[in-house]
């Protein structure tokens, strides 16, 4: 398998890598697949098509989709502002973008729930002026997932914006384009693959997110119950089969999303001439 190379250490490092990967990741993950073999196809379909499971998938996917879309818009603006403009306190804002990566999800969960609950700081304001309730409703899930999504979008778009050749803009300008035309016809087409990747990453993360959501969601079956929570509930009811069926479906969807993201990134690299 290995090419003879003068670099030392191929056997021990590849051996250790594969062994550790197998023990920590592959064997545990494969149990989910093997466990699902205990289920018949009919059982599986029965579990997955039950109303509560279907509505939880609906809630998870719609919330993640909306959140990723909102985060894409604002994340793009944020990345643009951070790369193109300079203003007071920019470095601090720049560092804070990664907070959702660094802040434990449980902390994010209770904080967002506290802010948006009817007696909370923003919850009261929104309720008084717009009659809008966010916490314990599906929209609360969206809010939590937007928080989680921000760094995915910003950190994917930012490097592409940074490397964007201003000569292309200058060429566009020299050919008589207006600023809006330069943006829509030159800048945006070059950034959009990265934005799409950021969107997909945020979406994939949002579908599986648990900690930051459960505190603000209210977790009402058929209304604001997300898939990961349903797995936990099945598990607490010792319904291993139910949990396995739902988890396997989630896993397959995640891998499909991973595949799509990889293809997207491949496409981005190819377009930008790195391949």
């Amino acid at each position: 398998m290995s090419h003879k190379s003068v670099m030392p250490g191929f056997r021990p490092t590849i051996g250790l890598t594969v062994l550790y990967l197998g023990l920590v990741v592959l064997i545990p993950l494969s149990t989910l697949v093997f466990e699902s073999f205990k289920l018949s196809w009919d059982d599986y379909v029965h579990i997955i098509t039950s109303k509560r499971v279907l509505s939880s998938f609906q809630v998870s996917f719609f919330a993640a989709l909306i959140a990723a879309a909102v985060a894409s818009v604002f994340g793009f603006i944020t990345a643009w502002v951070l790369v193109r403009y300079s203003f007071f306190g920019k470095n601090i804002f720049h560092a804070l973008i990664d907070l959702p990566f660094a802040l434990p999800t449980a902390v994010a969960g209770i904080v967002l729930a506290t802010i948006f609950q009817p007696s909370g700081f923003l919850g009261r304001l929104l309720n008084e002026f717009f009659g809008l309730q966010i916490a314990f409703k599906p929209i609360g899930i969206v809010i939590a997932l937007i928080f989680i999504s921000i760094p995915f979008v910003v950190r994917t778009v930012e490097p592409v914006l940074l490397e964007f050749e201003s000569a292309m803009e200058e060429a566009g300008a020299s050919l008589g384009a207006t600023r809006l035309q330069v943006f829509t016809k030159i800048i945006f087409p070059n950034i959009s693959p990265a934005l799409l990747t950021g969107f997909a990453l945020a979406f994939a993360r949002g579908v599986g997110e648990y900690g930051s959501v459960i505190f603000i969601a209210g977790n009402i079956p058929y209304v604001s119950e997300i898939v990961p929570l349903l797995i936990v509930i099945k598990l607490e009811q010792y319904d291993i089969q139910g949990a396995t069926a739902i988890a396997l479906t989630m896993l397959v969807i995640s891998f499909l999303l991973l595949l799509i993201i990889n293809l997207l990134q491949f496409w981005v690299r190819k377009r930008s001439g790195q391949l």
């Binding site: 643009w80 951070l82 193109r84 804070l96 449980a106 902390v107 506290t114 599986g208």
Partner: protein
């Protein structure tokens, strides 16, 4: 002095128009900055501030009492234990994996790289669930473990395993792109000068990757200490025994102990801020060198 005579007067109309096409108008610039800052303030600064506000809402004494509760202290101890076990293991793995992947050509290399990233795309709940399937009472090894009276699920080993899974890719992910970009000429130079493999790694590779390595360790540690979903599934929430800090936040919050919940949360938020500060410093170090 007569060089002036050949300079043309600036072509005002055209030049200004070109500038317009290259720069955003001021009103666009300021409204975008306002939108971005508003968005970040609402979603990031406000939550961060609220942790501190809530933790201290009943005064510093109540905060201190909440922090020094036996259950909280036990949670801190368990969280540290988890990090002390998982971070070094995943660091060691990250280094060996990065070395194998970036220093050799072999079949299935890109597949291996994808597999390393796998835990990132698995929902945290599923990351915990698979260990319940393996080691839980009804799990594959449940009976075997029961006969020897070994407890993995609902105890520290299960929490450590789930955390190991979740934080698995962090270090490798930081190192692989960097070492790929570095190439191996410096290492070849060291070998050609008679250095052994270990010596080459220690005195040539390691100094070049140390900031990225440290950054990876930092992220790995932040996640190890802060993981909630996976740990929540395997822990069983036994107070004083199997609650990590994030679980302690949840338990207190569900008990309407706001100060207690936010006191634990403030430690984790502090950890996040320290992580961000160190990260910024490391990035600064790496670009300045």
């Amino acid at each position: 002095m007569n060089t002036h005579s050949i300079s043309h007067p600036p072509a005002k109309g055209h030049g200004a128009k070109q500038q317009q096409a290259l720069q955003d108008p001021n009103w666009v610039r300021w409204s975008l900055i306002a939108i971005a800052l508003g968005f970040i303030t609402l979603f990031i600064c406000l939550p961060l501030g609220l942790v501190i506000y809530q933790a201290l809402s009943k005064g510093i004494e109540a905060y201190w009492t909440a922090l020094t509760q036996a259950d909280t202290l036990a949670a801190i101890r368990l969280t540290l234990l988890v990090a002390i076990v998982t971070v070094p293991l995943n660091t060691l793995f990250g280094i060996t994996a990065a070395w194998a992947i970036t220093r050799f050509e072999f079949k299935g290399k890109s597949f291996l790289t994808t597999l390393i990233d796998l835990p990132f795309s698995v929902s945290p709940v599923i990351s915990g669930f698979i260990f319940v399937l393996l080691f839980g009472a009804e799990g594959w090894f449940g009976k075997l473990l029961a006969t020897y009276d070994i407890k993995i699920i609902f105890s520290a080993p299960g929490i450590i395993l789930a955390t190991l899974f979740v934080t698995f890719p962090f270090v490798a992910r930081q190192l692989i792109p960097l070492m790929q970009e570095m190439g191996h000429q410096e290492e070849e130079a060291a070998l050609s000068l008679g250095a052994s493999g270990w010596k080459t790694f220690y005195s040539v590779t390691l100094p070049n990757i140390k900031w990225a390595l440290l950054y990876g360790v930092l992220l790995c540690n932040a996640r190890a200490m802060g993981e909630f979903g996976a740990v929540s599934v395997v822990s069983g929430h036994i107070r004083g025994l199997t609650n990590t800090l994030p679980l302690n936040v949840e338990v207190n919050y569900n008990d309407y102990d706001v100060v207690g919940a936010f006191a634990s949360a403030s430690i984790l938020a502090g950890l996040a801020i320290v992580t961000l500060v160190l990260k910024t410093l490391l990035e600064w170090k790496q670009t300045s060198r």
